[in-house]
């Protein structure tokens, strides 16, 4: 390893990784199918455990000789793994189109198509989660889907932070022993016995898996002189951590990676998050640095090797889901900084090394988050912004001042767990190691509910009767009547949504118990209860509010133009909406230009967003989820504002039928935030924090020139300090690339708020003429990643 510099090693591995083609893989699916067939009579949890163990024993493995962190769930990198036990239907329909679909393509080998259809599909037909839910509840779900989209219907549970600390303190051997001890307890139910047995089986598998890597490394060392030392060192590490809790930093990081690989092999789910890695790895790091067995350069190399690994597992979604969550994000979310157990600002060498790794690699994973608070050091803040300025959009920022108290107050989470919160998926908030947050239970499209309230319960796009007929814009005499009808539609769909969510949860309990995951989620081991059955200490369910910004803008228009100023009648507005504003240019111009919009620090409009989000949040508190936990809300969509928008007709805010809704979740509608970024923060700051206890997303776009100088970075640090003071839960900065600006030139309406700043001068980008826009584009130095 002396011969290879960090940069060289990482670039070499990175290039080799990116060169590899993505394939669909049915290797594990075949193993799972065989195990299920051989063990038909056994309980599901045992079958699941045996199937995982068999995969850990049999799946082909591969190692790159330069790797300092080894392991993957398939031999090839970035393979799309098929899990027939959770989702069978869509795979069959999409085998031929996977290589050519518009989003997230995967190559498919011809032989695999045949095997899938002849061996795998016949066994799982009518047995997978997706099949069973579809057979039993398909019509029920699709009847409400344009208002309430029910998720988690075709894959296992993810969006979970395992107890990494526990895993590192114990390792698979000690966890196995603990389960064996538990199994000796008296008065265990059958279910509990099976649960402990299943854990023992999976931990066995984990140990075998690590030993297999150790053996392969030894074999490779025998044939490879150049990397012999490296390979033998790695072989030792893998062998050691199979039987022991890790001791060194390198062992700890390797052990952690195996944990995530195995979690993905068991569940093939979106997002298992390492959480606060700079906290729990620090002890290992510090001990080795103090001993002199590790230097900073080696530590950073190990970290960057791990960073590469985070990019080797991708999540193959069905075509529709890929539209909602484009770019196969797998959501390895790492949160740095934040608060320690006493509420003091926390940071250490590792926090900075993680930022450095992000800066060096510029890859989409891990999803790096910085937890900010009043006492975050200026150093960490500025370093984070400097990494953002590199243009990858990361890290994103979370706000302890907005999150910690909210978790304690509105979710009854213990203060020590709230202080230690982390992020899963994109922006979802969670406690670490003890929570099945079910953070993406459903998305509730308030804009569709408003559409139904305006149009007698009928869909504007199809004319189909979808909701209740409480009236329409042509019948309401007052704004209050309209508001009551809107509330009525929300209530109607909420009841149906809750019922559907319970049915999905029951499906997971019946079909997808997850013993390996349960072993690293507190209190499952204690209770002898699988995580899907409510074994976790916290059992939440998150519903996303879609999208308050459009609701505020639309309701503001209805209130001001129809009921206050009476410039147009309700009937005129309804007709304009039904005609998608065709033939109504004056009404379209008025709704766009004569009424204030959310995101401009205009209190009465912003408060409409708050009012309806709160109405929704409050109604949810009347329900509990199937595991007995609380429902709560998030305000984020990732990319779902596009397909969600496709379901909604024209809206009173001037948005045309089927066009996207506001992006983000807390963000204003594209281009409508004309008063600038400080006004956006003030508006967003009006959203109460309980509305985003499941996560909020504020997306802001800037020209790279804002970050170009040291001065610019300092000003963004000030901006973020105020963001912390205003108690906004989340913000991420998109530094615009050349391509974005070219797009802004073509579609100015989406980028109206984009400003160009020169001393004593301001102008909007989209109001400059083409040549001047080109001038700015030429100045924009970042190319797309």
């Amino acid at each position: 390893m002396e011969s290879l510099s960090r940069q060289k090693r990482i670039n070499l591995l990175k290039e080799r990784m990116l060169r590899q083609k993505r394939y669909m893989s049915i290797e594990q699916a075949l193993i799972t199918t065989r195990i299920y067939q051989e063990n038909e009579e056994k309980p599901v949890i045992i079958k699941r455990a045996l199937a995982l163990k068999a995969a850990l024993q049999e799946m082909e493995i591969a190692i790159e000789p330069e790797e300092l962190i080894v392991g993957n769930r398939t031999k090839g990198v970035r393979y799309g793994v098929v899990s027939p036990e959770s989702g069978g239907l869509w795979i069959d329909k999409e085998l031929e189109t996977l290589p050519t679909r518009s989003q997230d393509k995967f190559n498919v080998k011809g032989a695999d198509i045949k095997t899938y259809r002849e061996v795998i599909k016949p066994y799982w037909q009518g047995k997978s989660l997706e099949d069973i839910l579809k057979d039993k509840f398909g019509e029920e779900f699709s009847a409400i889907s344009k208002v309430a989209k029910i998720n988690q219907t075709d894959h296992s549970q993810g969006h979970i932070c395992p107890d990494c600390d526990l895993w590192l303190q114990m390792g698979p051997e000690q966890i196995k022993q603990q389960a064996q001890q538990k199994l000796q307890s008296e008065n265990l139910t059958n279910k509990q016995q099976n649960f402990y047995k299943a854990i023992i089986i999976t931990m066995d598998g984990a140990q075998i898996f690590m030993h297999r890597y150790s053996e392969l490394l030894k074999q490779m060392a025998a044939e490879n002189t150049q990397y012999k030392k490296n390979l033998l060192e790695m072989a030792d590490i893998c062998g050691f951590i199979a039987n022991n809790a890790p001791e060194s930093f390198h062992q700890a990081v390797q052990s952690l990676w195996f944990l995530f690989v195995i979690l993905q092999m068991e569940s093939n789910a979106s997002s298992f998050s390492p959480g606060r890695m700079d906290r729990y790895l620090y002890l290992f790091y510090k001990r080795d640095i103090d001993k002199g067995s590790l230097d900073k350069e080696k530590a950073l190399t190990i970290i960057e090797c791990l960073w590469l690994k985070f990019n080797q597992i991708v999540y193959m979604r069905n075509t529709n889901s890929a539209k909602y969550f484009a770019g196969f994000p797998i959501g390895f979310n790492i949160a740095i900084g934040g608060l320690d157990e006493n509420g003091n600002a926390a940071e250490n060498d590792l926090s900075y090394m993680f930022l450095q790794a992000q800066e060096d690699l510029g890859l989409p994973q891990p999803n790096l988050s910085v937890r900010l608070n009043k006492n975050t050091s200026q150093n960490l803040l500025e370093k984070s912004i400097a990494v953002v300025a590199k243009g990858s959009g990361m890290p994103q920022f979370f706000n302890d001042e907005a999150v910690v108290d909210t978790m304690i107050e509105s979710l009854q989470i213990a203060p020590k767990d709230a202080l230690d919160y982390a992020i899963v998926g994109c922006v979802e908030l969670t406690t670490q190691g003890n929570n099945l947050g079910w953070s993406d239970a459903a998305m509730f499209n308030l804009n569709k509910a408003l559409e139904l309230a305006m149009n007698h319960g009928k869909c504007l796009l199809t004319g189909r009767q979808m909701g209740l007929d409480i009236g329409g814009l042509d019948t309401y005499d007052s704004f209050e009547e309209l508001e009551n009808a809107f509330a009525g539609q929300i209530d109607y769909f909420m009841g149906k949504m809750i019922k559907a969510c319970a049915e999905v949860e029951q499906g997971h309990m019946d079909l997808l118990p997850s013993p390996f995951l349960s072993a690293v989620i507190d209190d499952c081991m204690e209770k002898g209860l699988d995580v899907t059955a409510g074994g976790a200490h916290y059992n939440l369910s998150g519903i996303q509010i879609i999208q308050a910004a459009n609701i505020a803008d639309s309701m503001a228009v209805l209130y001001q133009l129809i009921y206050k100023e009476k410039r147009i009648t309700g009937t005129e507005m309804l007709t304009a909406l039904q005609k998608n504003f065709q033939g109504y240019p004056v009404i379209k111009a008025m709704v766009e230009n004569k009424v204030a919009k959310y995101g401009n620090d205009v209190k009465w409009v912003d408060n409409i967003a708050v009012k309806w989000a709160q109405y929704f949040r409050e109604k949810l508190t009347h329900y509990k989820n199937h595991r007995g936990g609380l429902y709560h809300t998030g305000m984020y969509t990732v990319s779902a504002h596009v397909p969600m928008g496709e379901n909604v007709g024209a809206t009173p805010d001037g948005r045309l039928a089927e066009q996207p809704l506001a992006d983000g979740g807390m963000s204003p509608v594209y281009g409508r935030d004309a008063a600038g970024p400080t006004a956006v923060l003030q508006s967003v700051g009006r959203l109460d924090n309980n509305l985003t206890s499941n996560g909020g997303l504020l997306n802001m776009k800037f020209l790279p020139e804002f970050f170009a100088t040291e001065q610019g970075i300092k000003k963004f640090a000030m901006f973020l300090r105020t963001f912390v003071d205003l108690k906004i839960p989340h913000i991420q900065f998109n530094v615009l690339h050349k391509e974005d600006l070219q797009e802004a030139k073509k579609n100015p309406e989406k980028y109206r708020s984009l400003t160009v700043r020169v001393a004593g001068y301001t102008a909007y980008f989209t109001e400059l003429d083409g040549k001047l826009q080109d001038e700015i584009i030429a100045r924009t130095q970042y190319d797309a990643v």
Binding site: D601, G760, A763, R779
Partner: protein, 301 residues
């Protein structure tokens, strides 16, 4: 309108008009008329009704108003400003926002309400910048307003051409934390030719302020305009003179702003360049700065 000021723009999140995150208020009216002016909509001292054809949907609502001030010829809106009785009515009636007043009157209380919205940001080092146009063109208003800002604990900055009565400047100085003063052209004849006014008053004011107890909060700026101000001769004369008046003077060169041209489609003036001039490169900026350095200026940015 003594107690109110005519403002043509208010911009929150200004990043280049002083320290921190600022709100910049653009005061309408300027005694100078530089042929490169980057805010030409701020030169005229009166509020005007303007029409932005790009936004217009040709709905004809405006031409139906009783005063007949707006007419349409060949799908083009023509405004006879002298006939406008109630400009606000035009703004209200226009559904697309194509007809707009180019400026509005604000009382100092109204302005305070707006700037105070960003107090949470100013806390970390930002504040309010008065720009224009020429803020001292509405001197009595700004003196009182600056005092109010300072009383509210807001850090103040002013961007000025210094074409102003010294007594007014003197009254404002105690309430200004940073004063940006343009020194555009040294030669009086050229100054008059390109800015429409001579520079004797400006030079006198600069000399006075640089030799006053307020000198350390003054930053003299020269906007670099190809051919007109960005010449070796002009820059060294300016720099030598400044260094003579105060060897510790703070001085700054502002790179040419090619975007200035964008605004000329909405005003009755012509921009000084027909062809596009690019920004100066870092190397060119460095060589300008070496002229300044040679002339004896130490504090430059």
């Amino acid at each position: 309108m003594k107690n109110r000021a005519l403002i043509f723009d208010i911009r929150r999140f200004s990043m280049h008009d002083g320290a921190g995150i600022r709100t910049t208020i653009f005061f309408k009216g300027c005694p100078l008329h530089c042929i490169w002016c980057q805010n030409p909509e701020g030169i005229e001292k009166n509020a005007r009704l303007v029409h932005f054809p790009a936004k217009c949907i040709l709905c004809n609502y405006c031409i139906k108003l009783k005063d007949n001030a707006v007419t349409m010829e060949n799908n083009k809106i023509i405004i006879d400003t002298s006939k406008v009785i109630d400009a606000a009515e035009y703004e209200y009636i226009c559904p697309s926002g194509a007809l707009r007043m180019d400026s509005k009157y604000y009382s100092s209380d109204e302005l305070m309400t707006i700037v105070k919205k960003d107090m949470p940001f100013f806390k970390y080092g930002g504040g309010v910048t008065l720009s224009g146009g020429e803020p001292f063109f509405q001197a009595d208003f700004i003196i009182k307003f600056l005092e109010k800002l300072q009383l509210a604990g807001i850090y103040t900055a002013v961007e000025t051409s210094f074409f102003a009565v010294w007594e007014k400047i003197e009254q404002a100085l105690p309430f200004i934390d940073t004063l940006f003063v343009d020194f555009k052209i040294y030669d009086n004849g050229k100054h008059k030719k390109y800015t429409n006014m001579d520079n004797i008053l400006i030079k006198n004011n600069i000399k006075k302020v640089l030799q006053s107890k307020y000198s350390n909060k003054v930053i003299i700026r020269t906007p670099l305009i190809p051919k007109y101000t960005a010449t070796k001769e002009n820059l060294s004369l300016i720099a030598e003179t400044l260094a003579k008046w105060n060897k510790n003077v703070n001085y700054e060169l502002l790179n040419y702003n090619p975007l200035a041209r964008a605004k000329y489609q909405h005003v009755a003036y012509d921009y000084c360049f027909v062809e596009d001039k690019p920004l100066y490169t870092q190397a060119e900026m460095n060589s300008f700065y070496s002229i300044i350095k040679e002339a004896g200026i130490k504090n430059f940015r």
